[in-house]
């Protein structure tokens, strides 16, 4: 009886895993077929206005990069505060809870918030507003991973540093951060991968642009937003372009994720 039950459970979990994987495989295969067929070198040289994707790729990376520039340091320092300095205090607990809630906040809500904050008052969409919305998405993720990676550092290591006469900040910056370095790095990469594929926060903050631009004060080229609008257009060529863009985006996110995993694995 027990053996039979064991086999049933095993079969059920196997089937469930296969169903999940099947959909993932389906998505990847569809993307690869539809995306790759429209793929050509000119996509990377021309801008959207000439049926290329160059401005979108560059734009998306600039938006995500700018968001990381703000979000990563802020998130790491806040994570250090919560775990190392505020440990046990109500204030730190409050920030941690808030950050957890923020992490599950619907991204469209963040987009709407930034629209009200930075788009409406300044008279139009801008690259800054888009990057700001992405940064808001990113900060809680970085806080969360920094916090949990620091929590994995054994307390004996901190005590050993203190016992040698090191001050608290030296223990944190010379020893604890170093011990958690790989985990924090992975967290940063994964949070970057997460925001680089976001659409909703950009939809009405940066919007998108058909032209190559580095001017962050007006509407800014975004790959995800363009995929959304291209997919809605009637022409076959526009939809092909959307497929190619989706494929490129997926490969990008996949590569970042794999790099993150590779770093973690090499550590062990």
């Amino acid at each position: 009886m027990r053996l039979l039950l064991n086999k049933i459970i095993l079969a059920l979990s196997l089937v469930s895993a296969l169903i999940g994987l099947a959909f993932l495989g389906w998505i990847l295969v569809t993307l690869a077929i539809k995306g790759a067929s429209a793929m050509s070198a000119s996509l990377f040289i021309k801008d959207l206005v000439d049926n290329g994707l160059r401005n979108l790729i560059v734009g998306q990376l600039i938006l995500a990069g700018l968001a990381s520039f703000v979000g990563i340091p802020l998130g790491i320092v806040a994570g250090i505060y919560i775990r190392e300095y505020g440990q046990g205090s109500k204030y730190a607990e409050f920030i941690r809870d808030l950050s957890d809630i923020m992490m599950s906040a619907p991204s469209i809500v963040i987009g709407a918030f930034v629209f009200a904050l930075l788009v409406k008052p300044f008279g139009g969409p801008s690259g800054f507003a888009g990057a700001f919305a992405l940064a808001i998405m990113m900060i809680p993720i970085v806080i969360n991973t920094t916090d949990s990676m620091l929590s994995l550092v054994p307390k004996e290591l901190r005590e050993a540093g203190i016992a040698l006469g090191a001050s608290k900040y030296k223990v944190i910056f010379n020893i604890v951060i170093r011990a958690a370095k790989v985990g924090i790095m992975t967290g940063i990469l994964l949070s970057f991968a997460r925001i680089v594929g976001e659409t909703a926060p950009l939809l009405f903050t940066s919007e998108t642009s058909n032209y190559f631009t580095l001017d962050l004060t007006s509407s800014f080229p975004s790959m995800t937003v363009s995929i959304y609008s291209l997919a809605n257009e009637p022409e076959e060529s526009a939809r092909d372009l959307a497929w190619s863009a989706s494929f490129i985006l997926t490969i990008m996110v996949l590569l970042i994720n794999l790099t993150g995993r590779y770093i973690t694995r090499n550590k062990k």
């Binding site: 050993a160 006469g165 090191a166």
Partner: protein, 260 residues
């Protein structure tokens, strides 16, 4: 001569009403090994961790009484429980080093591990740091095994080597007292033997207090033994007296293995 004097000392953990150790009176004698023994939860680690005030890492604990530490320069005793300023804490911990149960190599090279305390102490001269690191590694009987890979990460060493590295790290800053908190309980018998030999060897330079669960270990290496039970110091005497001729019934019961 005592290098540390514990007088009427009680310690209460944060958020607890009753003190975990009460009215302890105990000297730590110069260039001797003092073993603290007793069943789990008797307060021996709590006492040891008071001697460098590592408890202060966690807020809300309460110290009562006096713990005196001899200052080798002025030859006067100072009460370490009165320390409040950060730089005084740093000085205290440079005088009173600590080795933990689990080896705690820092995530850096073997050399940097040993040099870390020296850098904290403000020693910047490169040749002096190199000499002190070599001296400390030799003192911890590790030099021969690591001299060709000083720049490799310390995490690659075996458990016993890591523990000797931690001892070298503590010895490098030339402390007056070394506190060992069950230093061999995570190690195999051969590494344990090496650490025990090392502790006995270190006695000529530093005064040592060691917490151990292993009574054979206490009888092998220590000069004096303190037996604690339920937060009280039951008996303190020369090690051979404690093990061969204890005055208290509780001590005798514990060392003969009737409880514990």
């Amino acid at each position: 001569m005592p290098v540390m004097n514990i007088k009427n000392f009680s310690f209460t953990y944060a958020g607890v009403d009753k003190p975990s150790i009460r009215n302890i009176n105990l000297p730590i004698l110069k260039n001797k090994i003092t073993a603290l023994i007793g069943p789990s939860g008797c307060g021996k680690s709590t006492l040891l961790r008071s001697l460098n005030r590592i408890h202060d890492l966690y807020p809300g604990n309460k110290y009562e009484g006096v713990i005196e530490l001899l200052d080798f320069e002025t030859n006067k005793y100072e009460n370490i429980l009165e320390i409040k300023k950060e730089n005084e804490f740093i000085k205290l911990r440079q005088k009173v080093g600590m080795i933990f149960q689990k080896p705690t190599p820092f995530p850096m090279s073997i050399f940097d591990n040993v040099a870390y305390g020296l850098k904290i102490a403000g020693i910047k001269n490169k040749t002096e740091v190199e000499n002190r690191v070599e001296e400390a590694l030799k003192g911890a009987a590790l030099w021969n095994e690591v001299s060709d890979r000083l720049n490799k990460p310390a995490g690659g060493l075996s458990g016993g080597q890591q523990q000797r590295l931690c001892i070298a790290r503590a010895v490098a800053v030339k402390p007056e007292v070394l506190l060992f908190d069950e230093p061999t309980s995570a190690l195999d018998p051969i590494s344990t033997g090496a650490i025990e030999e090392l502790i006995v060897e270190l006695r000529k330079d530093v005064s040592i207090a060691i917490v151990t669960h292993n009574m054979q270990q206490a009888s092998r290496i220590s000069d004096f033994t303190a037996f604690m039970y339920m937060g009280d110091l039951i008996e303190y005497d020369k090690t051979e007296v404690i093990f061969l001729n204890p005055k208290e019934k509780q001590t005798e019961d514990y060392i003969t293995g009737r409880f514990g």
